[in-house]
Symmetry: C2
């Protein structure tokens, strides 16, 4: 039986490793997938296999949150899905803002998985006069100069930064001043923020450069 998963998560907040959260996201996706096929129960072995981890890891991740499968029966798919949903905060809608309506920014606006997972864009900001006033996904691009006012007015929870590296820290500083506590950063630079603000980086160029580095080293060059 699964009991009080949400409360447990809250209580154990400080101890939840980053890697665990990543795995919960993956289990969640597997559970949604199983649910869509009307599958009612799932074993830790099955969840493990579908996520390239060991079944011991799956049981450890869940037991940490107070969720235990029943021997021979496994986990109830829907119940476990709902509990993880609650832990990850996916049982509510989150308002997103996008700063920087460029290439990557526009792709993210059309990223169906955000919408599907209750992350909804509510505000677009850019500093380019050519872009301000234009509409994407039904939203008018607003002037970055009015960031503070727009972010507060839009009740923004999470901000996606997709501006050039040079402009990113200034945007982050302004977001912090506007009370934003969560940033997804696509600019290829690290950001300095106070400890109560969470930043996750998605540095596509840096990741691909890690690959060219690996290939270069493996080839014995340079």
């Amino acid at each position: 039986m699964i009991t009080g998963l949400g409360e447990m998560a809250n209580r154990y907040n400080q101890k939840i490793a980053d890697a665990t959260i990543g795995r919960l996201s993956r289990y969640y996706r597997t559970l949604k997938h199983l649910e869509s096929y009307d599958i009612e129960t799932v074993s830790s072995e099955e969840l493990a296999k579908r996520n390239n981890v060991t079944s011991a890891q799956v049981r450890k991740d869940f037991s940490f949150f107070g969720a235990f499968g029943r021997r021979g029966l496994g986990y109830n798919v829907s119940e476990l899905r709902r509990q993880i949903e609650k832990i990850l905060g996916l049982d509510q809608e989150w308002h997103l803002a996008l700063v920087g309506v460029g290439n990557i920014g526009k792709a993210l606006l059309n990223f169906r998985q955000f919408e599907e997972h209750n992350f909804k864009f509510r505000l677009l900001l850019d500093s380019d006069p050519e872009k301000i006033g234009k509409r994407f996904i039904g939203l008018e691009v607003r002037n970055l100069e009015n960031l503070n006012e727009e972010v507060r007015k839009g009740h923004v929870d999470i901000v996606v930064i997709a501006v050039p590296a040079e402009a990113a820290q200034k945007v982050a500083d302004d977001l912090v001043k506007a009370g934003v506590k969560a940033i997804l950063n696509f600019a290829p630079t690290s950001l300095m923020v106070p400890p109560d603000v969470t930043v996750r980086n998605q540095n596509i160029v840096i990741e691909i450069e890690r690959l060219s580095f690996a290939l270069t080293q493996a080839s014995g060059k340079p």
Copy 2:
């Protein structure tokens, strides 16, 4: 003076931490930026400030590669840029393939920073009959069924996976069989590959779920 940076990098290959490579990518971008303004020398303090690290960290990162700034003069911008370029393998062109010409995939095709950094798409693969034969950035989408042949024919170095989570491992297996050694994975799942294959993950949904988790925990909910 900077001496034999490339060779040093090669020799110290095994010891280069993942975080160091990430920082080198960032310094590289700063150096390119300075170069575009015809700035000839840069201090470790300036590089540190622009990358939100300490100057001791900068000096440590470079001395590890055998690069030392000259007291009072700092580092030669162009020379250091060229050396890091060589270490990261950015002094040559890399052929990319994209598997999965969906939303994110199409955005990446138009991601100018790939092109600017010598990463060139040469092959597009998809399993959707509606997409096969269509053209994007001058390339015709090929049938995923012929992955092995197409990857070998296209002399592909790095493959970008942008397929749904359920399909990703099969694609990775086929890529490994085709001799691919570097994968940038946008599918929200981890991939199992042999140790001589490098995978970097860009799980946008998982990253944003880490943010909703952080916000949920901070708010005292659920």
